[in-house]
Symmetry: C2
Subunit: 319 residues, 2 copies
Amino acid sequence: MSLFIGLDLGGTNLKYALGTGDGDLVVRYSKPSLAFQRQNKIFENMFSAVEQLMDEAARRGETVVAIGVGSPGCVDFEIGQLLGSTPNFEDWTDAPIKQRFEERFHLPTWVDNDANMMALAESRKGAGKGYRSILCATLGTGIGGGMVMNGEVYRGSHYSAAEIGHIVIEINGRPCNCGNRGCLEAYAAAPAIVDRYRQKLKRFGVMFEIQGLNTETIFLKASLNEDLAKETIIETCDYLGTGLASVANIIDPDLIILGGGVAEAGDEFIQRIEQSVKQNAIGAIARKIRVVKGKLDVDAGIIGAILLAAENFAAKKAK
Amino acid sequence: MSLFIGLDLGGTNLKYALGTGDGDLVVRYSKPSLAFQRQNKIFENMFSAVEQLMDEAARRGETVVAIGVGSPGCVDFEIGQLLGSTPNFEDWTDAPIKQRFEERFHLPTWVDNDANMMALAESRKGAGKGYRSILCATLGTGIGGGMVMNGEVYRGSHYSAAEIGHIVIEINGRPCNCGNRGCLEAYAAAPAIVDRYRQKLKRFGVMFEIQGLNTETIFLKASLNEDLAKETIIETCDYLGTGLASVANIIDPDLIILGGGVAEAGDEFIQRIEQSVKQNAIGAIARKIRVVKGKLDVDAGIIGAILLAAENFAAKKAK
C-alpha cells in the first residue's frame, strides 16, 4: 500500500505522521518544532522526522509516495513557499519548503497554511464530512480561518483568504496586533479575553494583579458563577457570533467548525456562539447554519497534511 | 448562429436583450418591470419581452437556444426559483421563474440573483476580465454583492453568499433594515448617506428640511467644497473601505468592482475607497488589491443573464 507523510509545524511542536490515502493515521509522533532556531535547523528537524517515518514505512513493507506539510503563515501553494514571515518563528521568512523537501527526498511535496489543513481534514473526515462548504475558525492566541468551498480548499488570489481574525467588528475600535483597529481578534482572541476580564476587575476595584490568569481560569471562574468572568464569556460569544455571522453572510457555508484552545471551553460556549451567529446572520443562513466543535482535535493538522499530499498526488497521477 | 436571450428584472425596469454566446448584445430594450403588480402580470410582461426578442431573432434568420434571467432576491439556482420575497416587489415571493419560462417557451432557462449576474458579466467582459476572483459590490438603495471565485460564480450553500451589505462594521451600531444593528448598509447605502448628512446639518443648526436631498446632491455639494457634504463623503468612503476590506480579508479577491448609482460619484470617490480598503486589509491583500468601477454600467445585468444562459447551455451540451 502507498502511504503518505504529513507534517504539521506549530510554534511549539512539530507533529508528524504516516497515513493512508484516506487520511487514516498509521503512526503519529510529536517533537519540539525548534521555532526559534535558524531556518536550516528547523528544516533538519523536519527532515529527520520524515526519515524516521520512512524507516517506519519500510519496516512495514510499505512505500511513501508523497509528503504534505502544514505551516503557519501565508503559504504560496503553487510554489510551496512561505510568503513573508510568521509570528513565533524567528527565521522562517520565505522558507522554500517544497523545494527543500523535494531536493532532499525526491518525493512530490505539497505545502499549505495550517488553518487550511485543519479545514481540509475536518471537511473530509471530521465535523464537516458530507457538507459542501465549511468555514473552520481557530480560536487561540490569534483567530485564524480556513475554508472549503464546494469541496475544495479556497486559498484566495494571494493565498490570504479566510483571515477572519482581521475583519473589523467595531470601526475605530480596540487596537489589533495587525496595526488596524476593531478587528475580531482584538476582542475575542485569548489575550483579548484575558485583557477584557482584567479591565472588568479593575473597574470593580480589584487593584492587585492576578497571576497566571488565562482563558482557562476565566472559563473555570465563569462555571463557578463568578459574575465578571461570566460577563466576559458572554461578551466573547457576542463578539465571535457577530464576526462569524459577517463571514457567513459573505461565504454562506453549511457549517462553522471551531477549533483551537478557546474552542475547548465546552458545549455551552459553542451553543452560545451559534445562537449569536444565528441572530446576526441573515435569511436562509440564519435559519440553517450550524456552529460545532471540530472532531479531529490536535490531529486535524497532520490529517490535513496527509490528505493534502494524497489528494494532490492522485490529481497529478490522473493528469 | 445560435443566440441567447437575457432578462434583467429590476424594481423599476425590465431590461431584455438578444446576445451571442460571448455575451455581445445584438439588440437591447427596456420597459417598466411592473414590480407592484401580481406575479402573473410580471411573468406575462417578461414573456412578451421574450416573444419580441424571438421575433427579432427570426427576422435575422437566427435561433434562440436558451434564456437567462437575473432577478433581485435570493434565487435557488438549481430549481430557478425565488426563495422568499424581495423588496420592491409585492408578489414575487417564491416565483418559479425557470419552470414558468420552460413551460412557455420550451427553451432551457437559467435564473440567478441580479448581483451574481453583474459579477459574471464584469468578470467575463468588463473590469474583471482576466482576473481569477472578483467581488462586485452594488452601491445603491441597498448594498449587494456578487462573487466570481476561481472563475465561477460562487453562490453559497443557501444561495445567500456575498450579502456584503449585512456584515457588521460596528457592533450594536446603527439599526439596519434587516433587523440587525451595525450593518455596512446602515452606514453607506444611499439612504444612510443622506441620513448622516441630514444629521450633520441638524447638529450644525440647519433646522429646515432640505427637499429632494439625495446622494447626487450631496456629491455635488461636496464637489463645491461644502464642508458637511465633504465630511459625509469621506466618512462614507471609510465605512465602505472598512467593510470591503473585511470582505477582502475573507475571500482575498484580485479586484473589487463597484457598481450601482452611488458608484457613479466619480474617480476621487472610488480612489478614496480603494485607499481605505488598502489601509484596512492585511498583508498581501493590502498591497495588491484594487478597487475599480464596473465597465458595463447598466448593461451588466443583461450581459450577465445572456452569459448565464450561454455558459450553462454549453456545459449542458458538453455532458
